[in-house]
């Protein structure tokens, strides 16, 4: 089981290719918001960029806060998302300590599924998929519904 990490954000050029790829390939949107990874400048462009993405908590507070089971614990960290169960209450986003869950205007949550499809679009290798020690192999690698 692997998780998405962003260990080299000091190399980031702010092109948003990762966010756009996630929105395009995973969520079928043109967006830099409805994505599992979002890039923000950390106080103006001169201070560089940060990635807002799921840090693969285990246990995940967003899953604990979800009242329906739309967010459930993913083996190795993070969550599996079942959109059909989501009632758009926004509790997941409020529970996330690092602002990794994006809510649309109608409270539709978007979070990283740790699928890794953004990684290849980073021109400076800021992102990496890393194995989680002790986690089971790729059993739930697809990360559930988007």
């Amino acid at each position: 089981m692997k998780i998405l990490t962003a260990p080299h954000m000091e190399r980031c050029i702010g092109c948003h290719s990762c966010s756009l790829a996630c929105a395009r390939l995973v969520h079928k949107n043109l967006s830099w918001n409805t994505a599992g990874i979002r890039i923000a400048s950390a106080g103006g462009l001169s201070t560089g960029f940060e990635a807002r993405t799921c840090l693969a908590c285990d246990p995940a507070p967003c899953a604990a806060a979800c009242p329906t089971g739309a967010f459930t614990q993913r083996a190795g960290g993070g969550v599996v998302v079942r959109k059909t169960q989501c009632i758009r209450c926004g509790e997941c986003a409020r529970a996330c300590p690092v602002d990794a869950v994006y809510l649309t205007a109608d409270s539709d949550p978007h979070v990283c599924l740790h699928c890794g499809r953004c990684v290849g679009f980073c021109p400076h290798d800021c992102l990496e998929m890393r194995a989680v020690p002790g986690a089971p192999a790729e059993a739930a690698a697809a990360g559930g519904e988007s």
Partner: protein, 590 residues
């Protein structure tokens, strides 16, 4: 988002109210440059002066913005203080994607705000905020406050002016997201005339993508070409500053107010030297994985014994040419400090550098002195030029007010027209010969990017006027298509006409895709029609004597060839402007 019309937000600053306008014409004007010309035809007043509050300030994106890589630029159109005629200036940063995600094909601003103000727009927001307390603020302080006032880090664009824009200098630029600029032809003054210190664009909407396999497949192909091949290496590696050595070696690098076209000192301010000594990192426009923005640093001791501050400054070939080569400032850090100063006060660094180069030569020749320049100007004296930048931005006296209106205007008052390096506006950093000089002097944006005249000079040896002008017209037409999408022109090798048509079709613009050739020709004509309607007389453009004295690797410039080129290009421009659309042109299709 993908629609057969344009969704335009028109904001009237006098009232602070906005209106969403549906504008027809997608299949004949495309977007970007074409849309800007269309909107100026609707909102502009060709005969009224540039600073008439009713004149529009237009920002337009294209049908492919955000959908494909490097479709990352915005076209700004306005009536220019430089020549009181229609003008375009282009910039990237996050402006294009922010407009896309604000669900706007264009923003049109008219009127004048009652107090110095900042306009904030988004997909669900229109707000005009009083910022009178920011009068005179430099662009750094302005940016910091705007970031606090308008949240959305990373997904918003902040356009702002400095003191130069507030003082209505024709050399004032609009700074976009700190490192990019609507640099030329005085866009900053057009904003200042509206009492607008800044515009914050919040990109807060998302859109469903077109169904089918064509779009993802083509996206992948384009992305691979841009990132896995050598096509963009130059821009990612040394950046356009790579040109310094190349041009110096072929005697085509303007140095010391174009008194010469090469200098051994060029090596000290080459792209290689900047990279080795000053380069901190690269940055990118949103939606572009190339990362051509090169950011260097300047360090300044502000207190003894060892108290320093540092600033980050973006550099390219053009600023290096303007404040490095033209002013003979051959220390990279000193050149960066001048770029930083120009940025801070909101001056177009190209125009400012070239103007101060003329002022320095005029000083050497005794035409002006410190009564005019306040600080004594000498080639190579970066400290003096830093001071002069502030005077120029604030139009400190009659001399700087005239110089800020344009070098030729100051030269007409004080003498020295012969050596004013002006080609429609202050020259760009190429002295490749006759075709480039005429291309910039007469081109719609008076930019080296209007057409590849500099490349034609380097490739063609014969002096064939018709062939040269045919090239300029055809190249301009192909660039019109790119700037209507709105692509970064660095990607012109990837975005051929066929690939643009394919891209348009893949996302559902089938009508536009089927007519890209006629559409680009139509846009080209429309831009010229609008420009001529605002008073442009290409045959009256003055190309100063200095350009006829230039010696390049090909030998001395041929003044007679230059004159014939100007005559023929003027005739062709007038022809395009006056051409009636044919029955087959996209203008007449329903």
């Amino acid at each position: 988002m993908i629609r057969d019309h344009f969704r335009v937000l028109h904001v009237e600053l006098g009232t602070g109210r906005g209106e969403i306008v549906q504008v027809d014409g997608r299949d004949r004007c495309a977007g970007g440059s074409g849309l800007a010309a269309l909107l100026f035809s609707t909102y502009g007043l060709p005969g009224a002066p540039w600073d008439d509050p009713r004149q529009p300030l237009i920002f337009a994106i294209g049908p492919l913005t955000g959908l494909f890589p490097l479709m990352s630029k915005t076209v700004c159109a306005f009536k220019s203080p430089t020549h009181d005629q229609y003008a375009e200036s282009h910039a990237g940063g996050r402006s294009a994607l922010s407009l896309r995600f604000a669900d706007l094909d264009a923003l049109v601003v008219t009127g004048r705000a009652p107090t110095l103000s900042c306009l904030c727009v988004g997909s669900r927001r229109i707000e005009l905020k009083d910022v009178h307390f920011m009068r005179g603020f430099d662009i750094h302080r302005t940016g910091k406050l705007f970031r606090r006032m308008f949240p959305g880090a990373g997904h918003r664009s902040i356009l702002r002016i400095g003191p130069a824009g507030e003082s209505l200098s024709a050399m004032a630029c609009v700074i976009v997201d700190t490192y990019r600029h609507f640099g030329r032809l005085g866009a900053g003054a057009a904003m200042g005339a509206k009492n607008l210190k800044g515009i914050a664009i919040q990109g807060d909407a998302s859109f469903p993508l077109p169904q089918g396999k064509d779009y993802p497949k083509l996206f992948q192909e384009v992305y691979r070409l841009l990132t896995d091949t050598e096509m963009m290496t130059k821009y990612h590696n040394l950046g356009t500053a790579e040109n310094v050595i190349v041009l110096n070696e072929i005697k085509a690098l303007p140095f010391r107010n174009l008194q010469c076209t090469s200098d051994p000192a060029a090596a000290a301010i080459s792209g290689e030297a900047f990279a080795a000594k000053t380069l901190l990192r690269n940055a990118a426009c949103a939606g572009c994985p190339v990362g051509c923005i090169h950011i260097g640093f300047v360090r300044e001791k502000f207190m003894d014994p060892n108290q320093y501050l540092y600033r980050q400054v973006s550099y390219d070939h053009e600023p290096v040419f303007a404040v490095g080569c033209m002013l003979a400032v051959t220390d990279p850090f000193a050149a960066l400090s001048l770029m930083e100063e120009a940025d801070g006060v909101g001056l177009d660094v190209m125009s400012a550098g070239v103007a101060l180069a003329w002022a320095t030569e005029a000083t050497e020749k005794g035409l002006i002195g410190t009564a005019e320049t306040i600080v004594p100007l000498r080639f190579g004296d970066a400290a003096a030029y830093r001071n002069a930048m502030g005077h120029l931005a604030r139009r400190e006296n009659e001399f700087y007010a005239l110089l800020g209106a344009g070098t030729l205007k100051a030269a007409r008052r004080f003498g020295g027209e012969d050596f004013a390096c002006v080609l429609g506006q202050e020259m760009a950093g190429y002295a490749t010969g006759e075709v480039f000089f005429v291309s910039q002097a007469l081109g719609l944006r008076h930019s080296h990017l209007d057409a590849g005249g500099y490349a034609f000079d380097q490739k063609q040896k014969e002096k064939d006027v018709v062939k040269a002008v045919d090239f300029l017209i055809a190249d301009e037409s192909s660039r019109c298509l790119l700037t209507s999408m709105v692509a970064c022109l660095f990607a012109r090798g990837v975005y051929t006409e066929a690939r643009i048509a394919e891209a348009l079709a893949s996302v559902g613009y089938t009508g536009l895709a089927a007519a890209v050739g006629p559409v680009s020709a139509h846009i080209q004509r429309e831009r010229w029609r609008v420009r001529v309607a605002t008073g442009y007389r290409p045959e009256e453009i003055c190309i100063p004597k200095r350009f006829r004295e230039v010696v390049t690797w090909k030998g001395p410039v041929d003044a007679e060839y230059l004159e014939r080129l100007q005559g023929e290009y003027s005739r062709r421009i007038r022809g395009m402007a006056e051409e009636t659309p044919s029955p087959q042109s996209p203008a007449s299709t329903p």
